[in-house]
Symmetry: C2
Subunit: 784 residues, 2 copies
């Protein structure tokens, strides 16, 4: 059974042009995953909800789509380099979809298998995807008629692969020098496709995972399955196959295109895209255009969902498949259509076998795995992977001899065991087993809902913007994750966004004015906004001379740029000249500019202003613990920090309370230490400042604050030329209108105002600021 | 002669409400200077050039104006707190005016005396200021007829003074509690005015400075002077006086206003403003409105130009006058008009006296100086001035007994002495003496022309913008000098500007993209701009794995944010894996992100892009010296640094070459030390980088570079969303068009691109970038 060509390849892999030393470049090819799956009600029946409008317009949505049926999700990753990156996107879209269907769709589930577990008695009731494009809808109606709706409900993973174009370009001269890059590329993809079709049965053996199917499942071409179980119903004759009469050659691109066109012309296919094969050449709307404009990438469609994995494919299998594809490049070229056809037959055999049946093509399998091992070792060496790739292959190698270790094998073992315990046939337990997995996966999708799964390396606020972008179908490019810098594109309109709300909506100069406390106060005061009285000084002498000019009893002396409260002196009673000068010296030790500011009593509130509108208001309170009469301060801090919402570095909505120098200083001022035991109910402050970043909490006050102060906040932002602005006000009584000037003061204005405190206030209503930012940037996008 | 009231004040100063302890607040009152002077040809005759259009539109120009004649400049400071600040503005406007009249007006001069030195034979030929407002022009024509043109050519300093309004507000309850702030303020200014008029003769004694006058000078009211010399022709009867019949009471504001209105009604005055007095109440268009809306400030008009000072008044005299004004507040109130009239007569006597004549009012003068001394000492104490104010007063005190030490006294002494040597009458030497001073002052005005005088605390680029703003009549507010942050206003339209070109014309996000090398390259590359090939890495492992993927022979490994070239490795030949990893380790020691960048050979050019236009292009060359065969490297550096254009900290157009660690490292790589003696003609580099800030020089290439590269620079700025952008290109041959991609690469894009290298290139044509920035911000302002 082993092909002659493969035998030749045992000892050394070769390719007419690529060499093993090019493997790093080849590994640096992009992949993209499309994962289909069904939305179900809790009882396992198909969802009756339409594809949610929360997921934007289907014509513009790159990430969350429908396939054949309206209840058939298609979750799509952009082209990425690594399995890890692909998983990142899948985990994000699964989270967002599950969130919508949990809250909006009566707690729906995502079915983890490729084969449906339950079909309606009347399969004609299955709802075709409600696409805006009439042709798309009509095409689906045609498919339903010719192949039957149940076949169309089969779900799988499509694995897209683009050979690193830089490498092709570099090597093109080494190919036939009479050929263009386009011709070389087409040739490469065609030979890759043929080899893949010939040997893909091995992947079906390892990864096939659709051993059972709904009992009323049937196909128009082959009727209902006679078998109760097999490795993969989806990849068997009961899967989605064109009529056997449709004969397509892979001998050359010209032959392939001509055959497809012939099949359409003679009515075997309605449209070119009706051709369903495990390999598809992509990049042009019409196949004929591939010849003229070139194949851009190749799509492999033969993967069942791995139901054990919440995302339908594991990270290692994603890598294993890529390794398999690269190996195909190095195998001698399968040339004849007969060999391709042989591969198709072998794949059907493997799919139709029972999951525990011994591999019938062991010798060829061993050779293929040997070839992969050569590739794996070379990659391990070049990519410094410490045997990672080799392990992937050797792990699969033992499955050659142990079908029970393959995915289908494991599934059947477990399902049979559970069914046996319940004294029923395994196939009757399929639905319950699948629903159980779906519920487990749902928990995975919904954990840490303040994060966007996969994007935890961003600040929470950026994660929030990303959530709404993905949902609305706004395309995302990660320009610099380390700086939370992203590019968003909707329908050709692009916007760069840093830290969630630093955008093209604000000017450069407004940033520098707000960054500068002196300038902020001056600009606001010039425009009639009340700011704390005071002055700024650039020398000690100048500041000392100002002493007789101080017009207020209570005031603060502080460096222009305060870090951690260093250098600040607060005078609650008017000081002596000597004490004043001492405070100046302390402040000038921290900065070249020192501010004198009248102390304003009242509540400090943060107004989040966007586009002349107050979107949210928070009161922040300093890090604090409350005594219980027996725990030490240190223990009380530990309890507070055990809150799962607390963490560090803007990656969690609340920040841990520290036990450092500044906290201990604050304790000292209350005659306490970390080891003191406060009385029950005694509030102990760990910080003077109320920043969330030092353990403080936020209380939403948006609906409680009088409009007068909102007006002041909006005006302040306007005078500063700011679109996004965090205005900090001190207010005597925020529920009452402004009667006299002294009722309020603007103490600071912040560019890039924190969203987190409003998205996840410790107390009170959350405010959807990430969505609000996107809505202003993309008024044309579906964000309502 | 000593008034009874003054006698009472000898022992202790008092005011009904203010106390000596309020002096700091009073000292914190604002002053503003208006300085008139004549523009002259080199021979001393009046300029025939009109007021230059370079100084903008007269209706919008707050700093550079004309008075009566078109050749009569009026240079105006904004309200400021200190003499130093006033001088800052005067030195700036004098510099700018002299610059214009030197380059555009055949080397004109600014006449330093209040009295003209030369009048045309036909004084009717003197050209009245060509004001747009017809009424203003007609009014001047009327003045010329009634008073004669020569009188109107007398120049002086007007000293505006506003009592600290915060202090009045604080004290208002202590005044008559039935009075409003406005009434109290009016009352304060009226009593200040009366006291000032009564005692101003003392200032005329110290500061009078118009001892000679053009020989054909004459007045309509008093004819030609009979005297050849006096202390001040300007303040004598030969000055600008209304008809003696115009009698105005200062007893109350109502009385004052009624009298003025009466004089207008009966035709003694054409307009209210024709009233010429040494004290003028300001703040309203019509005097009647002062009663209703309040006096805003007071103007003292009795100061002759001090010809010894380039700006017509010394810093210490500016302070002395303020001290005198404050003392007037503390003297008992002069109430009767007779006393005011007495003051007028005494002032005329002092003005008409010969400059060396003994003071006729010595006793009153001593008492006044004693009173000033009390004020000075209190201020010295409160303002920690180490006797500065006391010294001002004691210095003047001795002049009471030594008229030859007064300004007029010194002038006459010198002029007489010089005239004697030339054997001619002193009055005949007046013109030559004045012209000589004018030429000396011109040198002062024009020194360091890369600076804006008085504003040297700003970066050169900001000074350049300020120059053009002042010239165009754009109002300036200094928001934060330490950060080069200014507010410009023209005709109600305001713009904030930081560091010369960070403005509202750029977006916040473009700043963050350009600040980030990774993001800049990514955005440019996405848009088809060629950037050096490469990649960025956030971990050593990731970077190490990239080794086999490096597609280029020569490349650089560097930290994302390079400081002083630390952490950079340059590979001119392809390295071993080991060497590559070593370079990574060095780079990761400096930053969390490391860049790999293909090395691009060629010339590095900086394109200064503004508003889709290339305004300037510079080539920068690294700090270097050229050997002379006998000097050491260290000595050669000293020679280069002796260039007056070199300095430090962006305050001079070129920066000194250092002798620090990095320069020494650079020498080591050339097998040299600071003590080596390079051969004649040998070029020694002190830096690898070509930044001006490390001693490099710039060569203007704007007109030599092919348009293709300008297009690339403009497109780069567009893709980055930048209005102001410094695009750095490496170009193979910048005179040739782009033939293939490899001909260029954009290596960096900079927000806030340096102007200095283009304003003051070491070689080649200067480019007016400060003006260009303002022109875009204020298209409505006269900047052409």
């Amino acid at each position: 059974m082993i092909s002659r060509l493969l035998l030749e390849a045992i000892m050394e892999l070769h390719h007419p042009v690529f060499q093993l030393k090019d493997l790093s470049h080849l590994w640096h090819s992009t992949i993209g995953i499309e994962k289909e799956s069904l939305r179900l009600k809790q009882d396992g029946s198909l969802s009756e909800y339409p594809h949610s409008t929360e997921w934007g317009k289907r014509t513009q949505q790159p990430y969350i789509q429908t396939d054949f049926a309206d209840s058939q999700l298609e979750l799509i990753t952009p082209p990425v380099y690594s399995a890890k990156e692909a998983r990142k996107w899948l985990s994000a879209t699964h989270q967002l979809v599950q969130d919508t269907i949990t809250t909006q769709h009566d707690d729906e589930l995502i079915w983890p298998f490729s084969s449906p577990g339950l079909l309606p008695d009347d399969v004609s009731s299955i709802k075709i995807a409600q696409l805006e494009n009439e042709n798309e809808y009509n095409y689906r109606a045609y498919l339903a008629e010719v192949y039957g709706k149940p076949v169309q409900l089969l779900c799988g993973i499509h694995y897209n692969f683009q050979i690193n174009p830089a490498l092709i370009e570099e090597k093109v001269a080494d190919f036939n020098p009479n050929l263009s890059i386009k011709e070389v590329t087409n040739d490469l993809y065609l030979t890759l496709g043929r080899n893949y079709l010939r040997y893909r049965w091995l992947l079906t053996y390892f990864l096939g995972a659709a051993p059972y199917i709904a009992d009323n499942y049937s196909t128009e071409l082959y009727g209902s399955p006679k078998e109760k179980a097999m490795r993969s119903f989806r990849q068997s004759q009961y899967g989605y196959n064109n009529d056997e009469d449709v004969s397509i050659s892979y001998a050359s691109l010209e032959a392939f295109v001509s055959d497809v066109e012939k099949a359409v012309a003679n009515g075997q296919l309605l449209l070119e895209k009706e051709l369903y094969r495990d390999v598809r050449f992509r990049g042009q709307d019409r196949y004929r255009d591939l010849i003229n404009n070139g194949i851009k990438y190749i799509e492999f469609r033969n993967f069942d969902l791995n139901p054990f994995d919440p995302y339908g494919i594991t990270e290692t299998d994603t890598d294993f498949i890529k390794l398999f594809i690269l190996t195909m490049l190095f195998l001698p070229q399968v040339e004849k259509d007969e060999e391709v056809e042989l591969g198709n037959i072998m794949n059907h055999v493997i799919a139709s076998n029972e999951a525990h049946a011994a591999l019938p093509y062991l010798a060829e399998g061993e050779k293929l795995v040997d070839a992969m091992l050569l590739v794996a070792r070379a990659l391990d060496e070049q990519q410094l992977m410490n045997g990672y790739f080799e392990n992937l292959v050797t792990d699969k190698r033992q499955q050659l001899y142990h079908p029970e270790l393959t995915i289908a094998g494991k599934l059947v073992t477990i399902i049979e065991k559970e069914a046996q315990a319940m004294n029923k046939p395994a196939e009757n337990h399929f639905l319950a087993f699948g629903l159980n997995l779906a519920r487990q996966h749902k928990e995975t999708y919904l954990e840490r809902d303040y994060n966007l799964h996969g994007f935890e390396n961003y600040e929470i606020s950026t994660q929030n913007v990303l959530k709404h972008a993905i949902k609305a179908g706004i395309k995302i490019e990660e320009i610099d994750p380390t700086e939370n810098l992203l590019k968003f594109t909707y329908n050709g309109h692009s916007e760069l966004v840093k830290n969630a709300n630093m955008t093209s909506l604000d000017t450069q100069i407004s940033y520098f004015v707000m960054e500068n406390k002196v300038a902020t106060k001056k600009v606001l005061a010039q425009n009639g906004i009340r700011v704390p009285a005071g002055n700024s000084f650039t020398s000690f002498e100048e500041a000392a001379r100002y002493f007789p000019l101080i017009n207020f009893e209570q005031f603060v002396v502080k460096p222009k740029n305060t870090n951690y409260g260093l250098g600040i002196s607060i005078f609650k009673t008017f000081p002596s000249r000597e004490n004043y000068e001492e405070a100046l010296q302390i402040a000038f030790a921290e900065d070249n500019t020192v501010l004198l500011e009248a102390f304003m009593p009242g509540t400090e509130l943060r107004f989040y202003v966007q586009n002349n509108n107050v979107e949210a208001i928070c009161e922040r309170q300093a890090a604090q613990v409350k005594g219980d009469g027996h725990s030490t301060v240190s223990e009380l801090i530990d309890v507070v920090n055990s809150n799962p919402l607390r963490g560090d570095n803007h990656r969690s909505p609340l920040v841990n309370i520290g036990k450092g120098r500044l906290e201990q200083l604050q304790l000292t001022s209350q005659n306490l230490t970390l080891d003191s035991i406060p009385e029950e109910g005694q509030v102990v402050y760990l910080r003077e400042n109320s920043n969330i970043s030092t353990g403080g909490i936020a209380i939403d006050r948006t609906d409680e604050v009088h409009d007068d102060y909102k007006r002041i906040a909006i005006q302040s932002a306007q005078f500063l030329g700011a679109n996004f602005c965090g205005v900090d006000l001190i207010i005597k009584d925020y529920t009452q209108p402004i009667v006299e000037e002294a009722d309020y003061g603007v103490i600071e204005a912040n560019f890039n105002p924190a969203m987190m405190i409003h998205l996840f206030p410790g107390v009170g209503q959350a405010r959807p600021l990430g969505k609000a930012a996107l809505k202003q940037l993309f008024p044309e996008a579906p964000l309502d």
